[in-house]
């Protein structure tokens, strides 16, 4: 069976997302080949002592970690933009988009923190580095959006959480530069980039693999966002549909309650 055919089976998939999904899968496979086979490990030789140093094969984690970090921030930016859009327009489209971006962004953010920690252990010799600006900023952002998702889940109906959630998202994103600034001042040391990425010999193939990683994870995240949006949209539709039914039911009850609807006496009077 051609999986690209518009099926009669009901899913959140469409022709477009199926193609996108296939492209993303193929991309992941290609990225694996590039990251594990075609690129070289990061091995440098000390100019004087001739000692070998560098990240060795741990660098292969960066082809995963760096693209995901970029996409986390992109997803959160999308969430903030959609939240602002919601406050201006007040239509469900913006709200569902914001929720989808926050959920997917937070999932990827968790993975960024985990993969960063796994990478940091062999390279920085620590699972976690307090005082690193980007680590702390990303962690706080993650916690801010955990709160966002908790608020979303706490609401009885999706509609009532929309406005508070939009405010939380905007405050969270506004908070990023402040967190960044304060952590930067807090401990004036950053292991990131200066000590690692900048020193890394960015060869053509390394750079290409990083860019490929951004594109591939971009496809993956886009696919997830589209489906998450559609799930959110369906949840809304289900509520609306349920309300339609409830209205009909209630009106049905109304006509059978036995209260005389004609002008005249009600039953209690007689």
């Amino acid at each position: 069976m051609d999986i690209l055919a518009t099926e009669s089976r009901i899913t959140t998939g469409s022709r477009g997302t199926r193609l996108l999904g296939l492209a993303a899968l193929a991309g992941v496979l290609a990225l694996l080949v590039f990251a594990f086979v075609l690129t070289d490990p990061d091995v440098r030789t000390h100019p004087t002592s001739g000692e070998e140093f560098g990240q060795f094969d741990a660098v292969r984690l960066l082809y995963l970690h760096v693209p995901m970090a970029i996409l986390t921030y992109a997803a959160y930016a999308l969430c903030a933009a959609a939240s602002a859009g919601y406050l201006l327009r007040r239509t469900p489209w913006w709200d569902v988009t914001a929720h989808a971006a926050a959920e997917v962004g937070t999932l990827v953010c968790a993975l960024v923190l985990v993969t960063g920690s796994i990478w940091g252990r062999p390279v920085w010799n620590t699972w976690w580095e307090w005082g690193d600006v980007r680590l702390m900023t990303t962690l706080l952002l993650f916690l801010l959006f955990l709160g966002y998702l908790a608020l979303r889940r706490a609401a009885v109906d999706p509609e009532s959480a929309a406005r508070p959630a939009a405010v939380v998202a905007l405050v969270a994103v506004l908070d990023i530069p402040l967190v960044n600034r304060s952590v930067e001042w807090w401990e004036n040391r950053t292991l990131h980039q200066k000590s690692t990425l900048a020193e890394l010999k960015i060869e053509d193939l390394t750079l290409f693999t990083l860019v490929l990683g951004i594109v591939v994870f971009g496809l993956v995240v886009t696919w997830l966002l589209l489906h998450r949006f559609r799930v959110g949209w369906l949840e809304r539709a289900e509520v609306t549909h349920g309300i339609d039914r409830a209205i009909a039911e209630r009106r049905g009850v109304a006509s059978t309650t036995g209260v005389d609807s004609t002008v005249g006496q009600t039953r209690e009077e007689s």
Partner: protein, 223 residues
């Protein structure tokens, strides 16, 4: 001019359509009694008219303002007595009434108006300086009514105003409603005490299942 104009109004609370397509028109200066079974939508109707519940469908105007876009203008012109009394337990009866008078923007006139309302509801004297937490349920309800009366609203929305009051208290409430109507206000009352409210109001509307199932204008037939 009609003070309340509802056409096909649906109001959803959570996922529950408390009002499921309601049509109702109330003219200025009218007193309307709302009755019907519990869960029929009486309280939601009153909250909707106060601009606290947004209609999800249909057309709704109160005091000439659209309830979707001009709720704020509606809110400051109505007085709502709900199931809760909306008072601060740790403040005295008088302090509560004065606070709500000031909150309504009465400024310098607040205290005088509050004193008038306290007297009108029989809350003057030592009772006025008691903390609300220590007074009886009936006195609490009267305090709440005083806090409503100081606002001199154009539209009074009273949800079971007689509940928990003694005979004298009920009479005071009825007098208050009568005075408000005489001063040109419109009153919508929900009550289980039909005979009592019918003395005030010739018009009885019945809500059930979130819709209007009865609207009777007529003479009270005393049993």
């Amino acid at each position: 001019m009609s003070v309340v104009e509802l056409r096909g109004v649906v109001a959803v609370l959570g996922r529950f359509p408390a009002l499921a397509g309601l049509d109702l028109t109330v003219a200025a200066g009218e007193t309307v009694l709302v009755q019907g079974p519990n869960g029929g939508g009486k309280s939601t109707l009153l909250r909707l008219c106060a601009g606290l519940v947004v209609p999800t469908r249909g057309e709704a105007r109160v005091l000439g303002f659209d309830l979707v876009v001009e709720r704020h203008a509606v809110r400051r012109r109505v007085g709502l007595l709900g199931h809760a009394t909306g008072l601060y337990d740790d403040l005295t009866v008088a302090e509560n009434v004065i606070f709500w008078a000031r909150a309504a923007g009465l400024g310098r006139a607040a205290e005088a108006r509050a004193n008038w309302a306290l007297g009108r509801l029989g809350l003057d004297g030592p009772l006025a300086d008691q903390a609300v937490r220590t007074v009886s349920a009936g006195q609490r309800r009267r305090t709440s009514l005083a806090a409503l009366a100081v606002r001199r609203p154009d539209l009074w929305l009273l949800d079971e105003p007689h509940a928990g009051l003694d005979q004298e208290g009920r009479d005071v409430v009825d007098d208050l409603i009568g005075e408000a109507v005489a001063a040109g206000a419109t009153v919508i009352v929900s009550s289980h005490e039909l005979d009592r409210v019918r003395r005030l109001s010739p018009r009885v509307v019945t809500l059930a299942g979130g819709t209007l199932v009865g609207d009777r204008l007529g003479v009270v037939r005393d049993a």
